[in-house]
Symmetry: C3
Subunit: 142 residues, 3 copies
């Protein structure tokens, strides 16, 4: 049983859905040593989230942003938590809807994703800054 | 520490929410050998998802389909990713809302679910075909 | 490799989003013995869910409840599963949107949460009663 845990800091990104598979994996060369295992990605923030979806056409990601803005609009008349900006409370709600973590299977030293799957950083704030992700990997080398 | 990992192919299902606890478990006899552990189910697709909910009344599942169609309707005027059919972009959004994986506790050789809980395959495409699920199980036999 | 698994019963709470980090952790002194690991929290119900969000301003939690009620209103005309009360089918839908489990990293004997993160019990029923959570913790002591 092998455990690897590290904090990865993702570069600041504008509000929207961003493909970050490559940016995360460049920090995780240890993953190659595992024959079978799990990789857990956990974002330490309450206004951004991690998800998995289409890794090809960028319009999937802009449509995603457009639709979540429709479902969770700014300035809802019943919002009371408004003093951190109009984008703040919607960001918390989207974070609860999408979730703070991803658990992905490792097979033969690689994330065992489907052909079209990529990891999304869902940045719900206009200027969220750098985002911290705790990555925990465990598994068997034989 | 024991690791079991396999790919299970779920039979094609029409669009909607489907109870698949039995169909998954028939592929996982190894689960019975674990006293304590976790089972991780990961769907390798971007337009279907896995969830857990009521395993009894089928109207819960048809209401679920009706409401997700209401929240994420086809043909939203702002969708740009439209060339794979009207059901495609809504499928991606629902997949992000519901998520691609389930982690469930194992206790004394069984999934430790509540009385009314069952695993749902959430098929968001009209004709999604067979769906691949990577199942990873790890735990202790004593 | 160490495994700890127990069932924690959360005290009954009214409908809404509740911070339960402290109530859960008081049952988990064993967590302190792990240098690195994972903690998995799984709610054995289909009308309540677990999530993670802001642990400070309580208005985040009341706004959360207000907005999920807006997205998933009671008495939608197409609901068929209505005989358990107007709050029942919306509770199932919210449970699928938010999810039944949380996986959190353990580092040096503590949940490695961000400064503003706390665990939410999302109680979607008017009177859900006590809620059972299966907690599974595994990791390495060295």
């Amino acid at each position: 049983m092998n455990w690897i845990q590290k904090k990865v800091v993702l570069r600041p990104k504008p509000r929207g859905f961003h493909l970050v598979t490559g940016e995360l994996l460049e920090h995780l060369p240890e993953l190659h040593s595992l024959r079978v295992g799990l990789a857990h990605f956990f974002i330490q923030h309450t206004s951004a989230s991690l998800s998995l979806n289409e890794n090809a056409d960028p319009s999937v990601r802009t449509d995603m942003e457009a639709h979540f803005n429709k479902i969770v609009p700014e300035n809802a008349p019943y919002f009371e938590h408004i003093y951190e900006g109009a984008d703040d409370m919607p960001a918390h709600i989207k974070a609860v809807m999408i979730g703070p973590s991803l658990s992905l299977p490792i097979t033969d030293g690689r994330l065992n994703l489907g052909t079209w799957q990529g990891i999304y950083l869902c940045e719900h704030r206009n200027r969220g800054g750098a985002r911290k992700v705790v990555v925990t990997i465990w598994g068997s080398t034989d």
